[in-house]
């Protein structure tokens, strides 16, 4: 008995060591390598890269641009998303299931698809631009800051919406009744009670939106024109120096990490000051919205969703348009799909092979790490917890560059392989899946495991036969959402891919940047359909129509 116990403990210790080793090799080593590349030039310590960056206003301005874009996008996402979630949870909205599915779909598409469709809709030769100018309305330029802001806000408000819906579900109805009782109702209640109660979630959602906006580079690349943001600079710096040394690219990446880490710590500090817990015995009951108020609420919800879903509809529509070369012509055809299926044949299977392998690894690692963190809390496992959260705050392109730097030479020659794509996806996605697994595991009382052990099941057997199955539903639902984000991931993959490892998202990106919009639309439509299908499966599996992140 005593022997068996110590043996089992060794197994978990072994798992801890293996996980630490993995993080050491695949995350810490690349980051150190990146730092070394940034400060060592020709074998000597040098801050040349940093000097170049801060010496030119062009570069420094990109940071300001990025901050401006990210702060604005965060504010607008909150302004759109918070009232939307409030209306959605407080009132009976007609077609609310469809509304929610559409909102989720908006958040799941790659942002650059939105950027590209908005150019087609509202750009210089855009469809709406032309219609509107015929009736005498001239829309301002959507290139540059405005365009980036439009696309990112419409892309990111769904995250605020989903987070806030979760928070609103945790508000006990009696809190609102108490507020009404003490003379505070309507808009006043929304501002003075609901918003403060949701503050921790609003802060968390803000960080997520900010980080996504800050790290996004597809959108500014397409619609930003002269308006350079930080990730674009990183990307440019990396590709300008391919083959040569990466001092400047690495230096820019390091600056990026410092910036995002600073923002993360600031958010942490703010959220610690706003920390409290809520637990709803009676959740808020949706009310019927009557009269003019009801009309306005419906109008708001559906207009916002229509506006943000329009690009997707347009992309699907244009995938069936006839093309001549790179131009759309009158009439419809399936040529874009024919081309899509005959060229880049690997894109579709790659998407599934890379995506599913990454997903499988993410799930297994996340379960193990969640177990270590929740049930075997010790020094080593706290280190794992911290390591696993690092990728959360590092822009995807920086992780891409760090991996390329580390694994392009023997003995770790991985660049250009599927393996490096999978590693990147796993590292990038795992923080989210770990968080959800930890949350699920914390809800399972340890006494159930103790009961199994007291009935003679070994600790390992208990883990596999009791704990994992009980986590099952939570893991599956988390995994499907991870899957959707894995297949739409761009910023890391764009640095790591080549012709053999191209995926659907990358194919869309490639053809958009080549100007072949019809083919890009075909790939994008396939991607969107895959996403929709995944979400439908998610809803089937979890048995509800509510998605919470």
């Amino acid at each position: 008995m005593v022997n068996g116990k110590s043996k089992n403990r060794d197994v978990w210790k072994l798992v801890s060591l293996l996980v630490i080793a993995m993080y050491g090799l695949l995350l810490i080593y690349p980051l150190c390598r990146l730092l070394k590349e940034a400060v060592i030039v020709n074998g000597h310590f040098s801050l040349e890269g940093f000097a170049t960056f801060f010496g030119q206003s062009y570069y420094v301005k990109s940071i300001l641009n990025s901050l401006k874009v990210s702060v604005s996008a965060t504010v607008i996402s909150l302004v759109i998303g918070v009232p939307l979630a409030y209306f959605y949870q407080m009132y009976e909205i007609k077609g609310k299931s469809l509304l929610q599915v559409l909102i989720i779909l908006c958040s799941m598409s790659a942002p650059f698809i939105g950027a590209y469709s908005w150019i087609v809709l509202l750009g210089r030769n855009g469809i709406f631009t032309q219609i509107l100018s015929k009736i005498g309305i001239h829309v301002g330029s959507i290139y540059g800051f405005n365009g980036i802001l439009l696309v990112l806000s419409l892309q990111l408000f769904p995250l605020v919406f989903l987070y806030l819906c979760g928070a609103l579900k945790n508000i006990d109805n009696s809190l609102l009744e108490a507020s009404v009782n003490m003379g505070c109702s309507g808009i006043k209640m929304f501002l003075k009670v609901v918003i403060p109660l949701c503050m921790p979630t609003i802060i968390a959602a803000s960080l997520l939106v900010f980080m996504r906006a800050f790290a996004d580079f597809g959108t500014p690349l397409l619609i930003g024109e002269g308006y350079k943001t930080f990730p674009v600079i990183i990307y440019d710096a990396y590709f300008a120096e391919t083959g040569g040394d990466h001092t400047f690219g690495a230096a820019v990446s390091v600056i990026g990490i410092v910036l995002t880490a600073g923002i993360f710590l600031f958010q942490n500090w703010v959220s610690n000051r706003h920390h409290f817990t809520m637990n709803a015995m009676h959740t808020i009951e949706r009310k019927q919205a009557h009269g003019i108020k009801g009309v306005l609420i419906h109008l708001y919800c559906w207009l916002v969703v229509a506006l943000s879903f329009m690009p997707q509809i347009y992309v699907i529509y244009s995938s069936f348009q006839k093309t001549s070369g790179k131009l759309f012509v009158k009439g419809y055809s399936l040529d874009s799909y024919k081309f899509a299926f005959t060229h880049l044949k690997k894109a579709i299977p790659n998407t599934f092979i890379i995506g599913l392998l990454a997903l499988a690894i993410v799930i297994i690692l996340a379960i193990l790490i969640a177990y270590l963190v929740v049930r075997r809390s010790n020094g080593m496992n706290k280190v794992i917890d911290t390591f696993s959260m690092i990728p959360y705050i590092i822009p995807g392109s920086v992780i891409g560059i760090a991996l390329v730097l580390s694994f392009s030479k023997r003995p770790f020659l991985l660049s250009g392989t599927m393996a490096i794509m999978i590693i990147a996806l796993v590292i990038r996605r795992i923080p989210y899946t770990i968080r959800s697994s930890v949350a699920v595991l914390q809800q399972i009382p340890i006494s159930i495991e103790e009961a199994a052990i007291s009935l003679g099941s070994s600790k390992m057997k208990t883990f596999f036969t009791i704990t994992v199955p009980m986590m099952g539903n939570g893991i599956i639902s988390g995994a499907i959402l991870s899957w959707v984000t894995i297949i739409t991931e761009l910023s890391t993959a764009v640095i790591l891919y080549n012709a053999r490892t191209i995926t659907l998202t990358l194919a869309v990106y490639t053809y958009v940047s080549r100007g072949s919009y019809g083919i890009a639309a075909a790939y994008a439509t396939i991607l969107t359909l895959t996403t929709i299908l995944s979400l439908l499966i998610y809803m089937k599996v979890t048995g509800n129509k509510e998605v919470t992140l």
């Binding site: 009696s174 009744e177 108490a178 507020s179 009782n181 003379g183 505070c184 109702s185 409290f276």
Partner: protein
């Protein structure tokens, strides 16, 4: 300040499902009035209709002479204590108490002094800067009460406020609640399913079952002269025995197991006729006769010593079971299996018709008749 509450013919429906049909009652100014009943009897529903959180499908609700049916809950000037306290988790104790005052646009000094006054009254001054999650259940309860009272409401509504506390704290807090209500003198409507708690705090109690009020009265009325079988079983413990009435020479007798006849002097005159009845005899209304005295024969199945009292579980000759409570004696407890002879405090027992709908004893007070008669 305090108001009377009058409810005439209230109706509550959820869709086609009628929860409350035609309910009337009146609550006096400054009264501590309790709605008592098993879960699902409609007591919380009624409370929330008064508060304005449930719609009213029929009838009229008045505070004094003001009809409040369509009045916004914000304007009803009600203080409410919720089952889970509904304390804002993001605000300190002090800010929770000041919340309602701030909405009244009072001056800063007034808010501060009122907040202080009620923090002191509820003895939670020392926790004023604490966040709610660092308070115990009893302390949270005090915050909820302070917050509800600080706005000097016309009516205080409490929805099972003690149900989340442990047994000891529940007893302590109900004394606090009663004292505060006495001090403030506010009309209070209190909802609970715990009859002992209701008896401890209330001036009057309305016993509810399946959406109807069974009886309204003081705790003493309800316990000693319940209006029907439901009230007699719901309030306190009692032994229910089927029996019949016999009348001889103008005197009514009840027939007990073993064909034991007992003269019943408390019966209503008009009920003095042979009929099937249901007896409700509380455990303390039975007593063990001294040796040799005649009584109802019973055999002891079990005895439980609880300190002050000893409970005996017995069965009669016909197999019916009963519970007896005796003040504990210094000499030994009666042996299991021994046969005893029971006496009955006949002036205390209650007698119902065979459906259990009516009490046939004199002196039943049911204020419900006042309100149903008033319409």
């Amino acid at each position: 300040m305090s108001v009377t509450i009058t409810i005439n013919d209230a109706v509550k429906k959820y869709g086609n499902n009628t929860i409350i049909t035609d309910l009337s009652l009146g609550i006096k100014e400054g009264e501590f009035f309790t709605l008592l009943g098993p879960s699902g009897c409609g007591k919380t529903t009624l409370l929330r209709m008064i508060a304005g959180f449930n719609s009213i499908e029929g009838g009229d609700f008045f505070f004094n002479d003001v009809r409040i049916n369509d009045m916004d809950p914000v304007k009803r000037n009600i203080g409410m204590v919720f089952q889970n306290y509904a304390i804002f988790p993001n605000l300190t104790v002090e800010k929770n108490v000041a919340f309602g005052l701030k909405n009244r646009k009072l001056s800063k000094e007034e808010i501060a002094s009122k907040t202080d006054q009620f923090l002191k009254l509820m003895k939670i001054e020392e926790y004023r800067d604490r966040m709610p999650e660092r308070l115990s259940g009893g302390q949270q309860q005090r915050v909820a009460l302070a917050r509800a009272l600080a706005i000097t409401p016309d009516v205080l509504l409490m929805d099972e406020p003690l149900s989340n506390l442990d047994a000891k704290l529940r007893v302590e807090m109900r004394t606090v609640i009663k004292e505060i209500q006495n001090t403030v003198g506010i009309t209070t409507v209190y909802v609970t399913h715990d009859q002992e708690e209701a008896m401890a705090v209330s001036d009057r109690i309305a016993v509810m079952n399946e959406g109807d009020i069974q009886q309204i009265g003081t705790p003493k009325d309800l316990y000693q002269r319940p209006a029907n079988l439901f009230v007699s079983t719901f309030i306190g413990r009692t032994n229910i025995l089927k029996s019949r009435l016999e009348v001889k020479e103008g005197n009514a007798y009840i027939i007990l197991p073993g064909n034991h006849k007992i003269l019943l002097e408390t019966l209503l005159e008009e009920e003095k006729k042979p009929q099937e009845i249901i007896l409700s005899i509380r455990p303390e209304e039975l007593f063990v006769q001294e040796a040799g005295k005649e009584g109802v024969k019973a055999v002891i199945d079990d005895a439980i010593f609880l300190g002050l009292n000893t409970h005996y579980f017995v069965h009669f000759e016909d197999g019916e079971k009963a519970e007896i409570i005796q003040e504990s004696q210094i000499d030994s407890i009666l042996e299991k299996g021994s046969t005893i002879s029971l006496g009955i405090k006949t002036y205390k027992i209650n007698v119902f018709d065979k459906d259990g709908k009516r009490n046939l004893i004199k002196g039943v007070k049911n204020d419900l008749d006042l309100y149903n008669g008033a319409k």
